[in-house]
């Protein structure tokens, strides 16, 4: 039987990344949907960068930043006694950055697809912009939010490059399932590699199936 910790680590990492990104992406997407200036463009580039950069590049620079021999890493270690390189915390930060576009883009496109009269109607009824966001805008882009959550979760499960660069391969701490597959193959242990790989396929198929199934249900009631 295979060691189950990599599977739990993978699920924990995906779960935490999704929660953090959900709360981070809503204000970012809202801000992007409201602005048209040069800062919007810059932010869009930064948010989308993980889509085009090789994960090893992001991993490499994060590793440098987290390293205690560089200023940011030294600062964290001296003042907070935190060492992010080769730790689960570092892995989490890397995942958040790497999966950022998968959470921001669906929410952003949901927000911009809503007619502007919806927001104006809410404002003219005496509601603040925040009330409008939570009571009117977000409830009417449920399919986009669901897509964002599921894609982020699934994408974090499939992560490899970033995780390998900043997590190393410490059993029980940073050895997630995708890395475990690689490890077992390196050790010519094809049976165990196959078990981890089957788990990854199973969970990915289940997640995507649930996404398309529930989005179909949601779209049936949506006419906008």
């Amino acid at each position: 039987m295979i060691e189950p910790t990599p599977i739990f680590l993978t699920l924990e990492l995906a779960f935490l990344t999704t929660i953090i990104l959900f709360f981070l992406a809503i204000p970012v997407a809202r801000w992007l949907s409201l602005n048209k200036n040069i800062f919007k463009t810059i932010t869009e580039v930064v948010v989308s960068l993980p889509l085009v950069l090789p994960p090893t590049v992001i991993g490499f620079y994060l590793l440098l930043a987290f390293s205690p021999s560089h200023s940011f890493g030294k600062f964290l270690e001296n003042y907070f006694d935190i060492r992010l390189a080769f730790s689960f915390g570092g892995l989490l930060i890397g995942s958040v950055i790497y999966s950022l576009p998968f959470m921001v883009h669906p929410i952003l496109s949901g927000l911009t697809s809503l007619p502007s009269s919806l927001e104006e109607a809410s404002l003219s009824l005496g509601k603040s912009k925040t009330q409008t966001l939570f009571n009117v805008l977000l409830p009417n882009i449920k399919p986009s939010i669901l897509t964002a959550i599921v894609l982020t979760f699934a994408h974090t499960i499939g992560e490899f490059g970033v995780v390998l660069m900043i997590g190393g391969n410490i059993p029980g701490k940073t050895n997630v399932a995708s890395i475990a597959v690689y490890d077992e193959v390196e050790a010519l242990n094809y049976h165990d590699a196959n078990m981890y790989a089957t788990f990854l396929i199973g969970i990915s198929v289940t997640i995507l199936f649930l996404l398309y199934f529930s989005n179909r249900k949601l779209q049936e009631v949506k006419i906008l």
Binding site: P115, S117, L118, E120, A121, S122, L123, S124, L125, G126, K127, S128, N135, V136, P139, N140, V221, K222, I223, L224
Partner: protein, 289 residues
């Protein structure tokens, strides 16, 4: 009294346009905003609602200043107590009929007005219906009820009936009239429909190229036009010959009209040509436009 004097550079499809308007509206009046597309009607309405910031000027409603460029006052929409009815209804699809109207109220407001509004707009039986289940006319009733729930000081209607079919439209015009006489809220409606304007409103602002061409009683503005021309515009369809003379079939508005005519007039007309029918002589005289 509602007073506004506003200036704003607009960037319309056919180049820049300077909107420069100045107007006083008596309390409780129902007035219309009439003019060609691109004259600045919707922009004016949006500035009154606080959706668009004027370059210069002042908006004062019942002695309350909503906008004053000199003193840097610009109340946001939520502070203006304004009701806005959109052409696309802008109802919240995640709420049912009653919830849409309730949304306008704050926690401490009495819910009594909801019953009254549902009654006035004939929506009581539909209160728990999803917005998606309603017809266009019903949706616009909900939008109207919602806009009135806060008891606005100014009700702004941006072509509210233009997407609604004829029968439902005259029904809704009745609702608008009874609501206006019930709440006496100062209302401004943007409309292209002369029939609607004359039926609903006492005065009309005729906006053209960003300035107020005329501000006068609605019946006066439109009777002047029809008195002078003494003619109708329509589309030529065909010409028929009966025992005595020729009869032209013409589409005027939504109606087919048969008019005795001179066969010569119709010779160079083709089906679908836009024509003007003059009633100055008999038989009617046609001129190709």
């Amino acid at each position: 009294m509602t007073h506004f004097s506003l200036q704003k550079m607009l960037h319309a499809a056919d180049g820049p346009l300077k909107l420069n308007v100045n107007c006083d509206i008596e309390d409780g009046a129902f007035i219309s905003l009439y003019g060609p597309s691109g004259a600045g009607k919707t922009s004016l309405l949006r500035m009154l609602a606080g959706f668009m910031k004027p370059d210069n000027g002042m908006i004062k409603v019942n002695d309350e200043v909503w906008f004053d460029s000199e003193n840097k006052i610009n109340l946001v929409s939520q502070k203006r107590v304004v009701g806005f009815v959109f052409q696309d209804y802008a109802l919240f699809p995640n709420m049912n009929v009653e919830e849409n109207i309730l949304y306008a109220l704050t926690k401490n407001d009495s819910k009594k007005i909801i019953e009254e509004l549902l009654e006035l707009t004939a929506l009581t039986g539909l209160r728990n219906k999803k917005i998606q289940m309603l017809s266009g006319g019903q949706q616009q009733r909900v939008a109207l009820a919602r806009a009135l729930a806060r008891r606005p000081k100014l009700l702004l209607l941006d072509e509210p009936l233009s997407a609604i079919d004829n029968e439902m439209r005259s029904n809704l015009q009745q609702t608008l009239l009874s609501i206006h006489s019930h709440y006496k809220v100062t209302s401004i409606i943007v409309s292209h429909d002369i029939n609607e304007i004359v039926k609903l409103t006492s005065k009309t602002i005729h906006l053209q190229n960003g300035i107020i061409e005329r501000y006068a009683p609605s019946s006066e503005i439109f009777s002047d036009q029809s008195g002078k021309i003494n003619s109708l515009k329509g589309f030529f369809l065909s010409v028929e010959k009966n025992e005595i003379n020729y009869v032209a079939v013409i589409l005027v508005g939504q109606q087919l009209v048969k008019i005795n005519c001179d066969e010569e007039d119709t010779r160079n007309l083709q089906k679908g040509d836009e024509i003007e029918i003059s009633f100055k002589g008999a038989p009617a005289f046609f001129r190709k436009l």
